[in-house]
Symmetry: D2
Subunit: 261 residues, 4 copies
C-alpha cells in the first residue's frame, strides 16, 4: 500500500500569515514527511484576496497548490493570473467566472491528486448548488484519480457536515475553511472520507480571525463601517495532515496541526 | 488558593443527548472532580426547546444549571416554568421576555458563581447589543462574585472571538455554543479569561448537528421544508472543564472534553 | 390587432382574501372586460400555503390560473394535487420539487398564454439562478406563444427591477409579488415589456401584510416567536391589468387596480 | 386651522438626482405651495453617502433638511460636518455614532417641525430597536411640537407597515425610504398618521435603483463583485406631499409626487 500524505493549511492572512509560512513550512514538510501541501490563500493579500506576486511567494515558501473562497476577487490582480496559473483554483460553483474550480495535479511518477474547491451558500452568496456541483466534478475527476481532496469554504457547520456525509466514500477528504477557527471534530467518516469542519487560519493569534481585535469589537458595538487591518504579534499555522491510501483513495488518518511562532 | 472546577456541556440534543448525560455524567463529575456542571439545554426536547419535565430529568442526571439559546422558546412549555425555576436562564439580551438572563448560584459555603447567557446577532435575530448587555450585567454581578462564566450563544466566529477579547480580564470564562461543533481554540486569553469558540454538542455523532443527516442533505439540495428528526446511533458529550481561582476569578486552565457511548 | 387583457392579482391572504375574490371578481372581470385572470395563491390557506379545496374555491370564484411563491409548501396538502392540477404552478427555480414552474394555457380559439413563476434569491433561499432559469424556459415557451407573463416572487427591489430589464423585449409582462405592497412604478419598459415591482396583496387592509398587526409589532419588539393570525376587517384586491398585442407579445398598457370591500 | 404642507423627497442618487433637484425643486415648491422640503440624501454622492459640498448644493437647490440611511457613512467626508450641520440627521438608532438622529426645526413664527430618522433591522444591520428608539425620541419631541415626521429607512415591508401602525396617532407622518421604489399604499391611518411604505428615489429612471442596469444584472448572474456606476439618461423626482394640521399634528392629506425631466 502506497500512502500519500497531504498537508492542508487554513486561510493565510496577510503578511503575518505569509511570514510564518515562509519561516516554518519547509521544516514542517520535512518533519511530517509530507508529499503535497495545499493552502487556502483567499486572505493572503492584506486580508483581502491574493495577488500574483503573493501567490509566487507562497509557492516559493513550499506551498504546492492554492485554494480560495469568497474573498478571491477582493484584490483585482487575481484577474491577471487566475486563468494562466494552474496551481490556484476558486470555488467551482461560481456560475460564471474566470479561473477553474478544480484541478488534477501530478506528483512524482504516476500519483495524481484531484483538488476541488467549493463554496457554501448558507449566510453566503447564492452560487450554484455546492452539492450538485460536487457531484458533477467528482464524477469527472474519478476518471483520472482516486485521490480527491475538497476544500469546502463555508460558514454554517450544518452545511459543512452535510457535505462531509454527502461525499463520504466518494472523496478522500472534505476539509472546511472560511471560519478561521480550527474545529476539534476531525475524523474518518463511515465510508472512508476524512472530515473536519474547519482547519482554521494561518496568521496572528491575538486577533479576530487575523484582524486587529479592537476594530472588530468597535464594529460590532457601533455597527458603523470600520477599516480592517491585519493584526500584529505572534502568528500560528493551522492545518491538517491526512494520510490517503493511493490505491483506493480512502483516508487512513487525519490529524490536526498547529504550529506557532 | 481555592480552585473551582466547572464543567460546561454543549447543547444537549433530544433523547440521545439526555440518555448519554444520564449514563455518564455522575461518573464524569467524579472522574474529573468537578464542582459545578452547566449544560446548554436549548435542544433537549426533541431538538427544539426544553420542557419542565426534561429540565428536571437533566437536574436529576447531575446537571446543576441550564443555559439556553435561540431555540429556548420552541417548546411552549418553557413559558410555564422559566419564571419560577431558578436554575435555568435564557439569553440576557432578549429585550422583553420572561425568565432571566443571568443568575448567581451559591455552591457550598461561600462560593458563588455568576452565570450569564447571551446571544450573538450575526446571522441571528437582532436582539439587544450583546456587548452592552454583558457590560451592564457583569458590572452588577461583580458586586457579588468574582467567578463569572458566560455562555455566548452565537453563530459567527468573529462575533464570538470579539466577545472573548472584549470580556478578557472581566470574567472567568467565555464559552461559545450554538454551532454544535467543538472548536480546538481553547486557551487562556491575555488577561486571564478562559475562552473557546464553541464547546460542541451532546447527542448523536453520525448526524448533522444531532439531526438525521439524510434529511438535512435533502433540505440543502431541494431547498424545500423538511421535518427534522433527531438522529439515532452512538452519542457523545462535548464540553470543557475550566479551573478558576476563586479569589481572583481568573482562569487557570481550560481543557476540552469528549466522551462517547 | 387582437388585444389580450390579463388581470393579475396579488397574493391572496386567508379567508378575507378569498371572500373579497368571491364577491368581486366576476364583477371586475366584466367591468374591465378581462380575458384571463391569474392570482398568486401562496397565502390563501390561513396565510400559509394553499389546499386543493381552496384552489378549487378560487377557480370557481373566477380565477383562471394560480401562481405561488416561497410559501407554496407551507400547507402539506399541496403535495396531493400540485402534480395533477394543471392550473397551478410554483417557482420554476426550485431545483428538485414536485409540480411545474410554468405552463402554456390555451384560451378561446388559438390564443395561448405562457405563464412563468420564478423566485428571487436576495434575502430568500438559494434556489437555482432565476435569470438563467428564465432564459431556458422562455426560450422553450417562445416556440409555442408570444404572450408570456412572469410572476417574479422576490423580496429585493433591485433583483426585481433587474429581472424586468433582463427580460425586457422577451416577455409581455414581469410582475413582482411577495412584498404584499403595491408599488407605483408600473410602466412599459423600452422594448415593450410591462413591468411593476409588486402588485400588492389581496386581503385585510388594516394589517401587516394581511396578518394581525399587534402580533407583528410584538414580534419586532420582543424578537420572540409569535403565532400569526390573519387580520379581520375590510379587505382589498390589489392587482394589475395588462393589455398585450397577441401578434407580437408586446404590452400596450399596464394599469394598477385596487378594489375595496 | 393652520395647515402645514411638507414635501418629502426620496433618496437622491448621484449627479442625475442632484441635477433634477436643482432644475425642478423651486418650481415644485411654488407649484404645490410647500412650506418645508425634506430630502433623503444618503446616495447623493455618486450613489454612496454625501459630502458637505453636496449637502450645501442641495440646500441651495431648495432642500430645507436632509435625512439619510444605511449609506450615510459611505463617504468619509460625513464625519467632517455631521456634528456641526444642523440640517442633516442620520438614523437615530445607531447606538454609538456622530451626528443626531432627530431635530426640531423652526419655520416662520412659531411653527416647529420635529424630524426623526430611524433605520429598520430586517435584512439590515442590528442597530438599536427602532420601535423603542422611536418611543423615547417622540416622547421628548412631543414637548416641543405636535408636528413630527418620520423617515423610516428600512427594507422589509412588514417592518415599515408595523412602524406605521405603531406610531399611528403619535406622529404626523411615517414615510419609508431605502427601497428606491415608490409604493402605491399612501393613506391616512386610523388615528391620523399619514403613511407610505416607500416614497421612492430621485435619480435616473432607466436603471436599477439609480445604478447602471447592466452592472446589476451582471452581478446577480455572476455573483461576483461589480463596481456600481450611477446610470445616465432621464431622471425623476419621487416624493410625497403631506398636509398637516399644525394645532393637532394630525395629517389631513397625503399625495404621491412624481416629476420627470
Ligand atoms: Fe478566509
Ligand atoms: Fe472566506
Ligand atoms: Fe443548539
Ligand atoms: Fe442555537
Ligand atoms: Fe405572499
Ligand atoms: Fe412570498
Ligand atoms: Fe438609498
Ligand atoms: Fe438605504
Amino acid at each position: 500500500m502506497k500512502v500519500l500524505r497531504i498537508f492542508m493549511i487554513g486561510d493565510i492572512v496577510g503578511r503575518p500569515g505569509r511570514t510564518i509560512i515562509r519561516e516554518k513550512l519547509l521544516f514542517l514538510r520535512k518533519k511530517y514527511e509530507v508529499n503535497f501541501i495545499i493552502a487556502n490563500g483567499e486572505n493572503a493579500a492584506g486580508g483581502n484576496g491574493i495577488t500574483e506576486k503573493i501567490a509566487q511567494e507562497l509557492f516559493i515558501s513550499g506551498v504546492d497548490f492554492i485554494t480560495t473562497g469568497n474573498h478571491v476577487w477582493d484584490n483585482k490582480d487575481i484577474f491577471n493570473f487566475i486563468d494562466t496559473e494552474n496551481r490556484i483554483i476558486r470555488p467551482a460553483n461560481y456560475p460564471n467566472s474566470p479561473g477553474k474550480g478544480y484541478q488534477i495535479v501530478q506528483i512524482g511518477a504516476g500519483t495524481k491528486i484531484g483538488i476541488l474547491n467549493i463554496s457554501g451558500r448558507t449566510f453566503m452568496p447564492p452560487l450554484d448548488c455546492p452539492f450538485k456541483t460536487a457531484d458533477l466534478i467528482i464524477q469527472e475527476m474519478k476518471n483520472m484519480t482516486k485521490v480527491i481532496v475538497v476544500d469546502f469554504h463555508a460558514e454554517a457547520t450544518s452545511e459543512k457536515i452535510a457535505m462531509g456525509w454527502y461525499l463520504d466514500g466518494r472523496v478522500s477528504l472534505v476539509a472546511g475553511t472560511h471560519t478561521h477557527v480550527q474545529t476539534a471534530d476531525e475524523r474518518i467518516l463511515t465510508n472512508g472520507t476524512a472530515y473536519i469542519t474547519d482547519i482554521g487560519m494561518t496568521g496572528p493569534c491575538n486577533s479576530v480571525l487575523g484582524i486587529e481585535k479592537e476594530r472588530i469589537i468597535n464594529k460590532f458595538i457601533s455597527q458603523m463601517p470600520v477599516r480592517f487591518e491585519v493584526a500584529k504579534g505572534p502568528a500560528e499555522i493551522n492545518g491538517i495532515i491526512v494520510d490517503i491510501d493511493e490505491s483506493t483513495g480512502r483516508a487512513l488518518k487525519i490529524q490536526r496541526i498547529r504550529e506557532s511562532t
